[in-house]
Every structure is written in C-alpha cells, then in structure tokens.
C-alpha cells in the first residue's frame, strides 16, 4: 500500500503580471497544507508573489512525441458534453533548470483530452516539449492578502545569502596555515 500523502504540483509567480511556473512537487494531506509546504520549500528564499497548487493526479501531461505519435488520445472527445475551465501549461525550453512548465492560459473543455486539443490550437508555439492541462477547480491559489506574511519576510533575511557567512574566508585562512582561533 502506498502510505505517502498525495502529491501536489507547485506553481510560483515571481512578480505580479508574470506567469506562474511549475517549480516542483510537495506531499500534503490537503491543498491548504500543500500551499504551506510549497511556500516553505520553494518560496522562502527566492522571490515570490503568488503560489498555486494542484493535485498531481488532476494534471494531464503529454509530451510532443506522445501527441504526434497517433491520434488515439483524441478518440473519446465528446463535443456535446458540458465543459469546464482548464488551465494550460507548456514546457517551452530545456534550458531552465528551476522550472518545468509555464502557465499560458485557459481553455473551456469537456475532458482533459478535449482541453489538450483546445490548448494546441489556442496556444500555438514554436517549440513545446510538454503540455499540461488541469481543471481550474483542482487548483488552489494563495490570496493577495497572503503575499505579505507568506512571501515578504524572506526578502530581509540576509542569512539566506551565502555571502553572509565567513566560512569561505575562514577556510582560505586555514588552508594558508593561519590559526583562525585567535
């Protein structure tokens, strides 16, 4: 039996107006705790304005290769079924180490496969390595009022910066054979 708590994908927005980017996953018992764990893991040191979390099993992920291989993934799309809003994310580059996919917008769709189909036509891009779609109802977002207590304190914490420690300097002195204990 899997005793791990559910996995949530964490999306971080660095500044207002910029897109949310997936930065990693956390385990959590529910969305509120996922938001808090996301804050502690991914937003305590780097800049952050807003966080979203979504249960990993609510996200449908397809690589460009999977989408191109055949049309089977589109087989069961029911255009008559009721629709809901899906968030669309793209992995646009292989060059960035700290983020995986970037939020590009929303589509209305009746299923994840339908959302993928809509996403591909709505958000064309030169290169997309991976597509993610996720129902908007599965996403929990930090609120504007959270920005100060959740994300602001880290800005003033100079001890988070490596140059606040004399370790490097002290090690250099030790290597030069100097007695650092005065």
């Amino acid at each position: 039996m899997d005793t791990q708590w559910p996995r949530y994908e964490v999306f971080k927005q660095d500044r207002p107006g910029e897109p949310h980017e997936s930065v990693g996953t956390v385990h959590a018992v529910d969305a509120e705790m996922a938001l808090q764990n996301g804050r502690d893991l991914f937003a305590r040191r780097p800049k952050c304005h807003s966080l979203w979390v979504a249960r990993a099993d609510a996200i449908t992920s397809k690589t460009a290769e999977q989408l191109a291989a055949d049309d089977a993934w589109q087989a069961d799309i029911d255009l008559e079924a009721p629709t809901e809003t899906y968030l669309v994310f793209q992995k646009q580059t292989e060059r960035r180490g700290m983020t995986f996919t970037t939020h590009v917008g929303e589509v209305e769709a009746s299923s994840p496969a339908h959302a993928l189909q809509q996403a591909i036509t709505t958000f064309p891009a030169e290169q997309v390595f991976v597509w993610w779609v996720c129902p908007a109802t599965a996403v929990t977002r930090s609120e504007e009022a959270d920005t100060l207590p959740m994300f602001a304190p880290a800005k003033d914490k100079l001890f988070r910066l490596p140059n606040q420690y004399r370790t490097v300097f002290t090690m250099q002195k030790i290597k030069r054979g100097k007695d650092v204990i005065e």
Binding site: D40, L41, P149, P153, T170, I181
Partner: protein
C-alpha cells in the same frame, strides 16, 4: 528614560528573547526527525524564525545593557534564564510540539500587536516586523491543530492529552511581574495579564472547533520566571557546549 525604566525594559527584552530562544532550540530538535520531509523543513523554518526573533530582542537589550549577545546566550547559567517553563519542556511527540507552538504563536500575535504601539520606538519597530512572520507561523500550527484534533482517534487523544498538560503552563505567559508596572506607566509595554482575555478567546474558539476540550486547570506551575525545571539545565548544557569548549572560536 530613568534607570528604573531602563532596567525594567532590559528585563522585559530578556523575557522576550529567552522565550523565543528556548522554544527555537526545542523546535530545532525536530530537524531531521520531522514526520515527513516537507514538514521537517517547514518546522525547521519556524525554529529558525524564532531564533532570529530571539537575536532581535537580545540586540535591543544589548543597546541598553551593553552585554554581548553571544555571551548572554552561551555563557549564562540556567538560573539566570528568564523563559517560561512552557518552552523548556522536552519536545514530546508531534502533537506536543505543534500545540505548544500554536499556543505560543497566538500569545505572540496578541502580544506583538500591543508591543508594536510601544513608546520605545526600537521595540515597536521590531514587534511590527516580527508580527508579519508570526501570522504565517500561526497559520501553519493552527492548521495542524485542526487536522490532528479532527484526525484519527489516536491523533485526537494525543492532542487532548497534550492540551491538558500544556494549558496550565501556558498561563505563565500572562503573569504580571514587578517590571510590568514601570513599563506600563511609560507606555513601553502592556501588562501580560491584559493579553489573557484575547488569547483565551482565540485559543478556546479554535481548539473547540478542533473537537478539543479546554482544561479547567488554569494554575501555572510557577509564576516566577527565575524558576525552571531540570529540562532547561540539560537543554543549555547541550546548546552551550561548543561555545564553552571553544570560547574564543569565531564563526
């Protein structure tokens, strides 16, 4: 500020610093031992924040007394520490540490809101800044209290047992001490007893929603901050061991 007021203020800052420092140390004992990795990091962050707050209060005290912060922390004997007994108790199980931190967080938020209006400006500014971090601490520990209180039969039982233990200890935070009168006259700090009603209202509401029963024992084991359990002695022996062994080391 006359000498009496300055002495009282320095003493108050020592109360604030010691509560935060000892609680931070107890919480830091969870580092590497948290129930899951994410929580290990979250609670270590909280410990680090509290340690930072202790440093802030100690620096303000140093401005008044001239006593070096490291000396005050690492070369002071248990009998000279002025923390409440609540924070020196061993960390216990996860319910114990979460509930203790929760009870302390509510107290801090209520207290800091008042200290932020202190007539002693450095104190008011520090309180306003620290308060922002405490909002997040409370959100985290309050969430755990709810989940453990309403969780399984075992988690609920552990929470209730812990609450019965900690409730009287928490009352010591609201005991007025001789310093408080002078500080009150100067508008530097409100008396601890004036914070009790709001603390009691906030904690009672939240704990009751978590299906926990508020204990009837409101008698703190001691009203004297100079009075400690043996747990503080062993805590300080460990915390101070490196500094005392290498008193001239730099870091």
């Amino acid at each position: 500020m006359n000498t009496n007021h300055q002495t009282a203020l320095a003493q108050k800052l020592l109360f604030l610093a010691d509560d935060e420092l000892i609680l931070a140390h107890r919480n830091s004992e969870w580092t590497g031992h948290g129930p899951i990795l994410e929580e290990d990091i979250a609670f270590t962050n909280i410990a680090l924040d509290e340690m930072g707050h202790a440093a802030t209060w100690h620096r303000l005290r140093q401005e008044l007394t001239g006593e070096d912060v490291d000396t005050a922390v690492f070369f002071r004997d248990p009998a000279a520490y002025r923390n409440v007994q609540l924070v020196e108790l061993p960390h216990g199980d996860w319910a114990f540490s979460m509930l203790r931190q929760y009870l302390f967080d509510v107290y801090e938020l209520v207290h800091l809101a008042q200290l932020a209006t202190s007539s002693y400006r450095p104190l008011a500014e520090a309180a306003a800044k620290i308060r922002v971090e405490e909002i997040y601490h409370l959100r985290h520990t309050a969430a755990w209290v709810t989940r453990l209180g309403l969780g399984t039969a075992e988690s609920h039982q552990r929470m209730q047992t812990t609450l019965d233990t900690l409730w009287p200890y928490a009352q010591q935070l609201f005991v007025n001490l001789p310093e408080d009168e002078a500080l009150g006259e100067m508008g530097m700090a409100v008396s601890p007893s004036s914070l009790l009603e709001e603390w009691q209202h906030l904690t009672t509401t939240h704990l009751t929603q978590a299906n926990l029963i508020i204990p009837t024992n409101h008698m703190p084991p001691t009203t004297d901050r100079a009075d400690h359990t043996d747990h503080l002695t062993s805590l300080l022996a460990e915390m101070q061991s490196v500094a005392r062994q290498y008193p001239t080391a730099v870091w």
